[in-house]
């Protein structure tokens, strides 16, 4: 959680210094969800699908902080060699399916990973395959068709997946109750977790500012999925401490609301819990914070000193088989021409 926070706050600094560009969406405030689900309950071979707010999900899943920072700097040493950027982090080795910029787009993708696990068990005979896929998305996404289509198929096909809604109350400037209808005839609240039972799966609400509580519900959902008993929908109530992205003036959220959630900051809350329960001392926590600062500073230095992508990358990875670029006037495949990947926007 501390790494997540420090990393994101460093991103803000680097964005304002012009080291990263475009849209940068920070996760500060929501760390208990990422840590409580991914770090606490998942294995390296499990899958997660994320959104444009994906840096900390990647870190929790074990992706190198250096490689994430380098990606945000648009450097060759980044997770996607600078081709993906902030909203599109991918790491196959760590089961990070991707950061998806479109609302709801990542959910069926995560479901596809779960489908592959189910296929491996049921068709390919790998009965011990108990990997799971966790789909992360926000409250704004719970009104998108792909979410409902996925809930239906997850139960229909009994897939090993978990839906985690990080309800931070605001979709850019749209407050959750302004966008989502009440969840019941006698219930005026737009609960998202209550949509679970309508699709034949458990729906659980959890305090997303409390990492231990998140861990508890996630553990149960993950175990259920590993046993082959199907999906779970978890709604974690949380809050982002910054605007939607660093370009958002954040003028609509009330000061009182921000203060309410600032007082429930998951990091000091958990530090207090650890000290009270004899899990760590104040000095342990200080040492950890110092260590994390070092790690984050190291990431920045690494990213700063890394080379830019080679121009050859402009045309690499468009196809797995570059024959897709077609045949040139000399009868050879275009990609075989020397200098093909030298990169030019001019096409004639």
């Amino acid at each position: 959680m501390v790494l997540g926070r420090e990393f994101e706050e460093m991103c803000a600094q680097m964005y304002y210094r012009g080291k990263m560009f475009g849209f940068v969406h920070l996760y500060s405030g929501q760390e208990a969800v990422s840590t409580g689900v991914i770090k606490a309950c998942l294995r390296k071979d499990d899958f997660i699908s994320s959104t444009y707010r994906d840096h900390v999900h990647a870190l929790s899943k074990g992706v190198s902080a250096r490689k994430v920072m380098a990606e945000l700097f648009g450097k060759k040493t980044g997770v996607s060699r600078g081709q993906g950027g902030s909203m599109h982090l991918f790491d196959r080795e760590h089961g990070l399916l991707g950061g998806y910029a479109f609302i709801g787009e990542g959910i069926p993708i995560g479901l596809g990973a779960a489908y592959q696990v189910a296929y491996s068990r049921r068709v390919l005979g790998n009965e011990s395959d108990d990997r799971v896929a966790v789909n992360f998305f926000g409250d704004g996404t719970c009104n998108v068709g792909q979410f409902y289509e996925s809930l239906n198929m997850a139960t229909l096909y009994k897939l090993p997946c978990i839906f985690v809604v990080e309800n931070n109350k605001w979709a850019i400037g749209m407050n959750h109750p302004r966008a989502t209808a009440p969840s019941g005839i006698a219930d005026n609240e737009p609960w998202i977790y209550k949509k679970g039972p309508a699709f034949g799966m458990p729906g659980v609400h959890v305090d997303g500012m409390d990492v231990m509580k998140v861990r508890e519900v996630a553990m149960e959902a993950v175990e259920r999925a590993r046993r082959g008993e199907g999906p779970t929908l978890i709604e974690a109530e949380t809050y982002r401490y910054r605007g939607h992205s660093l370009a958002d003036p954040d003028e609509l959220r009330r000061k009182e609301e921000k203060e309410h959630y600032a007082a429930r900051d998951p990091i000091p809350q958990f530090a207090k819990y650890m000290v009270a329960n004899g899990l760590a001392t104040e000095s342990d926590i200080k040492a950890l914070e110092a260590k994390v600062k070092e790690v984050v500073d190291d990431c920045v230095e690494y990213a700063e000193n890394s080379p830019k992508p080679d121009m050859s990358q402009l045309l690499e990875n468009v196809f797995a088989d570059p024959k897709g670029f077609g045949i040139g006037p000399d009868g050879r495949y275009r990609y075989e021409n020397p200098g093909f990947t030298a990169g030019t926007a001019e096409v004639s």
């Binding site: 475009g22 648009g74 902030s86 910029a101 704004g140 850019i172 749209m174 990358q313 096409v347 004639s348």
Partner: protein, 362 residues
């Protein structure tokens, strides 16, 4: 594309010496301008005036009301017309676009704002299968007076999923009209025309241009100023080559023309304004005059708008051409994030200048 014979043709044309005459033609847009207006204000005032004129006009989309628009294009409209006519929607493109189309079938005139046109992919069934085809399928019984508008094409640093030009996609669909403004005059006049039009109009804006001020004269500020759909505009007259573009690329072409003028090449700059219907006559007339045509667009090359421009030039005035038509386009790759790759994926003024010189045999 082959470029055989280009040099010889260029030599022939140079001997006519019409470059000097073209240099005397003033840039009409700037000569009588009185006021500066940003594209944002042009779009905003167009919607404002049309909402005041016709109470069946309403706006819906994500963040259009309380947030005042993700790019502040709808600023102030909620305060003026209230939440019933400026409607914030959930993030449900397929749903709210469908509602807009359904309401238009019943006689309302919705303006559906896509935060960017990338998100219109979620709603393309409603745009292509519903909006574009109902008039035909119902044998004229149903009309769909709707405007789909928002930022199209590449912004800066927003990578593969947020940087795509949909001009070629939408302009290939029968039943849709597709407009792309370049300056504030276009933005105001075309948007007002789109809102008043009885058919579905796809209105492609450019995020990078929103804050850009352009000179406008009194006529443009008139409440009934509309730009006719289907007519291109000559932004700069020239005699050696026609540079055809739409949206932001018109600005690139104007800059390129200035640079080329210093080298004695007179380029005519044609602003398409309307991609569907496309002004075949204007393209052909210009090419007959200059004998060369270069199409410039940010989108991808294959089956792009440039393919259409070149087809028109060949179909309409093959015998007038002194050089094979060419196009400058974005590279045929998803938009990379890293700045150096992103820059290499997009057309530049230098690309336009280099292509023109090559076509002129210089």
């Amino acid at each position: 594309m082959q470029r055989l014979g280009c040099g010889a043709a260029a030599l022939l044309r140079r001997s006519q010496g019409d470059g000097a005459a073209a240099a005397l033609v003033p840039q009409l847009v700037r000569s009588y301008a009185t006021t500066q207006m940003t594209i944002r204000d042009a779009l905003n005032s167009a919607m404002d005036e049309e909402m005041a004129r016709d109470e069946t006009v309403f706006i819906m989309g994500e963040e259009v009301a309380e947030y005042q628009g993700a790019y502040k294009i709808t600023r102030g409209l909620l305060q003026k017309y209230g939440p019933k006519r400026v409607k914030d929607t959930p993030i449900t493109e397929a749903g709210f676009t469908g509602i807009g189309v359904g309401a238009a079938f019943q006689g309302l005139r919705p303006i559906v704002e896509f935060m960017t046109f990338n998100f219109s992919m979620q709603a393309i069934d409603q745009i292509v299968n519903s909006a574009a085809k109902h008039h035909y399928m119902s044998s004229g019984a149903v009309t769909c007076p709707i405007v789909f508008r928002g930022a199209n094409g590449a912004a800066a640093g927003v990578a593969a999923q947020h940087s795509q030009c949909f001009a070629a996609w939408y302009s290939s669909v029968p039943g849709l009209k597709v407009l792309a403004p370049y300056d504030s005059e276009d933005a105001r006049g075309l948007l007002k025309a789109a809102i008043r039009d009885p058919d579905p109009v796809v209105f492609l804006e450019n995020e990078i241009l929103y804050g850009e001020p352009f000179p406008v004269d009194e006529a443009v500020l008139d409440k009934d100023f509309v730009v006719p759909i289907g007519k291109a505009k000559i932004m700069r007259s020239g005699s050696d080559i026609t540079l055809v573009g739409f949206g932001k690329m018109v600005g690139y072409n104007l800059k390129a023309a200035e640079l080329l003028e210093q080298e004695g090449i007179s380029a005519e700059v044609l602003n398409l304004r309307s991609l569907k219907p496309i002004d075949r006559d204007a393209i052909a007339a210009s090419v007959r005059k200059t004998h060369r045509v270069l199409s410039v667009e940010e989108g991808w090359p294959q089956s792009g708008v440039g393919s259409e421009i070149i087809s028109i030039a060949i179909e309409e005035c093959f015998d007038d051409l002194d050089a094979p038509p060419e196009r400058v386009t974005g590279a045929e790759v998803p938009m990379p994030y890293a700045q150096n790759l992103e820059a290499a994926a997009l057309p530049t003024v230098e690309h336009v200048v280099a292509a023109v010189k090559r076509m002129m045999g210089k």
